[in-house]
C-alpha cells in the first residue's frame, strides 16, 4: 500500500490499519483467524456458562459472609460508614489529582481512562446488587456510595484548583487518618462495642490484613534496605541475615511458625490474637522483599548525588530524604507495588492456618452440603474480586509514578 509509505498521504483509517496489522501476509491472516476463532469460542463458552449453566445461589445466599464474615449484623453500620468515608476520600483525591494543573492540561478533566473507570463503576453499582438479589435498602446504599465517589470526583475536578494550597496538601494525609478511623470502626473502642478479630472474615479480613501489612512493610523494608547499605557492620549484617532468612523460607511455614512462636516470645497479655499474628508475619515477610526492591532503587542513584548533597552541608538524613530517596523510590516503585500485589494474594494462605479470609470463607461455604459442587462459581467470583483489588493497586501506583516524575512529565508535555 503506497499510501502508507508516503509521509504526506492522509493517515490510514483505523479499519485499514487494523487490516494491515492483522492480515499483513497470508500467514499473519491465518494466525489472526485461528486466534480470533479461539477467543470467540472461549468467550462464548464462558458467557454461556455464566449466564445459563452456573447457579449463583451459592453467592447470593452467602454474599454477606463473603463480604464481612461473621461480623455482628447490628454493628455492620460501622462498616457501611467506613465504606462511605473511603468512597468520599477516593472521590476527593481522584478529583483533586485531575484538577491540579501539573497533572493534566486544563480541559482534560475527564481523560479517556477516567471516563472508562466511571462507566465501569456505574455499571457495577447497577448490576451487582441486582444480580446478588440484595434488598432494596442495601441496593440504595451501594448506589449512594457510588454516587458519592462520582459527585466528589466531578466537583473536585471542576473547582479543586480553587481550593487553597494549604488544604490541598492535607488531602494525602486523609488516607492515614482514615486508616486509623477505619481500625477503630472495625474493631471497636472509643465508645464502640468491641468486635473481636475472630469475628472478621471474608473480604473484610483480607483487606484489613493486607492493608496493615502493606502499610507497615514499607517503612520496615526501607529501614532494612538502608541497613543493608550501612557502614555500621552490625546493622549491615543484621539486615542481610534477616532478609536472606525470610527470603529463604516459604511464607506458609512462617505463618505456622508465627502462630506458635509469637505466643512464646511475648508475655501473655501482649501476644496478639491469631489474626494479628498472621498480619504481623505477612508484614515481616513482605518487608524483606520490599527491602530488596528498594535496595535496587538505591543502587540506581549515582554516588555523585549523595556527594553533591553532602558538599552543600546537608546532613546524612537530609541528603537521604531530600535527594537520594525520591530518586530511588521512583526506580523501585513498580517492583514495590508488584510486591504489594503479591502480598494481597498471599493473604489467601491465611485460610490454611484456619482463618476465614476470602478463600477461607469460600472453603467453609463449599463445605456446606447445600452448595456441594458449586466450586467453579465460588472460585470465579474470588478470582474477579482479587483481580479488582490488584487492578486498583496497579492503577494507583501508575498515578503515583507520574506524580513522582515531574521532570519526565515536563519533558513529555513539550
Amino acid at each position: 500500500m503506497p499510501a502508507l509509505l508516503s509521509p504526506l498521504g492522509p493517515a490510514p483509517s483505523r479499519w485499514k490499519r487494523l487490516r494491515s496489522e492483522l492480515f499483513g501476509s497470508r500467514v499473519d491472516g491465518l494466525i489472526s483467524i485461528a486466534l480470533g476463532a479461539a477467543l470467540v469460542a472461549i468467550a462464548f463458552g464462558l458467557l454461556k456458562w455464566t449466564l445459563f449453566q452456573a447457579q449463583w445461589a451459592v453467592i447470593q445466599a452467602n454474599s454477606t459472609l463473603f463480604a464481612v464474615g461473621r461480623y455482628p449484623i447490628e454493628q455492620q453500620w460501622r462498616l457501611w460508614l467506613l465504606t462511605a468515608l473511603l468512597a468520599a476520600a477516593t472521590g476527593l483525591s481522584w478529583g483533586l489529582l485531575r484538577a491540579l494543573p501539573r497533572d493534566q492540561p486544563s480541559g482534560q478533566r475527564w481523560p479517556f481512562n477516567d471516563r472508562l473507570a466511571a462507566g465501569v463503576l456505574v455499571a457495577l453499582a447497577l448490576a451487582v446488587p441486582l444480580w446478588l438479589q440484595l434488598s432494596l435498602a442495601i441496593q440504595l446504599r451501594w448506589w449512594g456510595i457510588t454516587a458519592l465517589v462520582l459527585v466528589l470526583r466531578w466537583a473536585l475536578a471542576r473547582w479543586g484548583s480553587d481550593v487553597p494550597r494549604g488544604i490541598q496538601r492535607l488531602v494525602p494525609l486523609l488516607w492515614p487518618g482514615l486508616y486509623l478511623v477505619g481500625m477503630v470502626l472495625i474493631s471497636g473502642g472509643l465508645g464502640l462495642i468491641q468486635v473481636a478479630p475472630s469475628q472478621w472474615g471474608g473480604l473484610l479480613l483480607t483487606l484489613v490484613a493486607s492493608s496493615f501489612a502493606i502499610l507497615l512493610c514499607f517503612p520496615l523494608g526501607l529501614v532494612l534496605a538502608l541497613g543493608r547499605r550501612s557502614e555500621l557492620p552490625l546493622l549491615r549484617w543484621g539486615s542481610v541475615v534477616y532478609i536472606e532468612f525470610i527470603r529463604g523460607a516459604p511464607l506458609i511455614t512462617l505463618l505456622f511458625l508465627g502462630q506458635n512462636i509469637l505466643g512464646f516470645l511475648l508475655p501473655g497479655g501482649l501476644a496478639p490474637d491469631r489474626v494479628w499474628r498472621a498480619a504481623w508475619v505477612l508484614t515481616f515477610f513482605a518487608a524483606a522483599y520490599v527491602a530488596e526492591a528498594l535496595r535496587s532503587g538505591l543502587a540506581a542513584v549515582p554516588r555523585g548525588q549523595l556527594e553533591a548533597a553532602q558538599s552543600l552541608g546537608m546532613t546524612m538524613p537530609q541528603s537521604l530524604v531530600q535527594v537520594v530517596l525520591p530518586q530511588a523510590l521512583r526506580v523501585a516503585l513498580p517492583a514495590v507495588v508488584g510486591q504489594f500485589i503479591t502480598l494481597l494474594q498471599d493473604t489467601t494462605l491465611l485460610s490454611l492456618i484456619g482463618l476465614l479470609d476470602l478463600l477461607g470463607t469460600a472453603r467453609a461455604v463449599m463445605a456446606n452440603p447445600a452448595f456441594l459442587g458449586k466450586s467453579a462459581e465460588v472460585y470465579l467470583v474470588l478470582a474477579v474480586l482479587f483481580w479488582c483489588c490488584c487492578a486498583a493497586l496497579g492503577l494507583g501506583s501508575r498515578a503515583l509514578e507520574t506524580r513522582l516524575n515531574p521532570s519526565d512529565q515536563a519533558r513529555y508535555q513539550r
Partner: protein, 252 residues
C-alpha cells in the same frame, strides 16, 4: 585578566603532609602540602592518576585521609561529623558530572540547601537564587528541570547552586572535562567572573588558558605529590622542575 596576588596573606586552607591509602593499599597521596590564601585562585594540574581529584576532595571530606592535617577557616577536618558539616557549609564544590538533583527544578536545586541547612526563609532565598541564575546567564531556565538543559547550562546551574550557600571557598573538580567542546567556554567565563569578584577558588583542570589568565598560582601534582607551585607566568614559561617541563610538553 592579569594574575593576582592576594593583598593580605591570610590563609583560608592549610593542608599539611596529607597521606591517603585506598582500602586496596594504593598510596594515592604521599604527603601533600598546600596553603591557599583568601582571594587566591589556585589551579591544580597534573596527569591523570596523579591524585589531584582525590586531593581536592579531601578538602570537604568527601575523601578521608590517614595522615597529616587539613584546616579550613580555622576548622580542622577530623572524625567529628558536626565539624565536617560546618566545613561543608562554607566550602562549595562543583563536580565533573554536575550532579544536579534531577527530580528538582533548577530553582529548587539552588534553594534546597540554603533553606534546609541555613534555615533561611524560602522567598528570600528564591529571590537570591534567581539573581544568581541571572548572573550565570540562565535566568529564564529557572523552572525547567536539569534534564532539559545542555551540559554547559547544567554546569552553570551547579556553580550557582554552590554559590547560593554563600561559600567562602569554592572547589572545582574538573568542571569542564565532561562537556562538549563548544560548551567549555561558557563555563570558564562564569568561573573567570567569579574569580574577578574575589572568590577564593581551588580548581582542578586541564584548561591551560584558564590557568594562565586566572590563576594566582599553579600547582603540578604527579604520583600523589606536589611537584611544583609557581605563579602562572613562571609555571608555563620557566618551570624549574623537569617533571613540569615534561608535563607541559605532553599537553602541548
Amino acid at each position: 585578566m592579569a594574575s593576582r596576588n592576594p593583598v593580605v596573606m591570610d590563609p583560608i586552607l592549610e593542608a599539611r603532609g596529607v597521606q591517603k591509602w585506598y582500602p586496596n593499599g594504593y598510596h594515592a597521596l604521599r604527603g601533600v602540602d598546600l596553603t591557599v590564601h583568601r582571594g587566591e585562585v589556585v589551579v591544580i594540574m597534573g596527569p591523570s592518576g596523579s591524585g589531584k581529584s582525590t586531593f581536592i576532595r579531601t578538602f570537604n571530606a568527601l575523601e578521608d585521609f590517614q595522615q597529616g592535617s587539613i584546616t579550613i577557616d580555622g576548622l580542622s577536618i577530623n572524625e567529628d561529623t558536626r565539624n565536617i558539616e560546618a566545613i561543608r557549609r562554607e566550602v562549595g564544590m562543583v563536580f565533573q558530572q554536575f550532579n544536579l538533583f534531577p527530580h528538582l527544578s533548577v530553582l529548587d536545586n539552588l534553594t534546597l540547601a540554603p533553606v534546609l541547612v541555613r534555615k533561611r526563609a524560602k522567598p528570600q532565598v528564591e529571590r537570591e537564587a534567581l539573581e544568581l541564575l541571572e548572573r550565570v546567564g540562565i535566568g529564564e531556565q529557572a523552572h525547567k528541570f536539569p534534564g532539559q538543559l545542555s551540559g554547559g547550562q547544567q554546569q552553570r546551574v551547579a556553580i550557582a547552586r554552590s554559590l547560593c550557600m554563600e561559600p567562602r571557598l569554592m572547589l572545582f573538580d574538573e568542571p569542564t572535562s565532561a562537556l562538549d567542546p563548544e560548551m567549555v567556554q561558557e563555563v570558564l567565563e562564569v568561573m573567570q567572573e567569579l574569580a574577578a569578584d574575589g572568590m577564593t577558588m581551588v580548581v582542578v583542570t586541564h584548561e591551560v588558558r584558564f590557568a594562565r589568565n586566572v590563576a594566582s598560582r599553579v600547582v603540578l601534582m604527579a604520583e600523589g605529590e606536589v611537584v611544583e607551585i609557581a605563579p602562572p607566568e613562571q609555571f608555563f614559561t620557566a618551570p624549574t622542575h623537569p617533571r613540569t617541563q615534561q608535563f607541559l610538553q605532553q599537553i602541548g
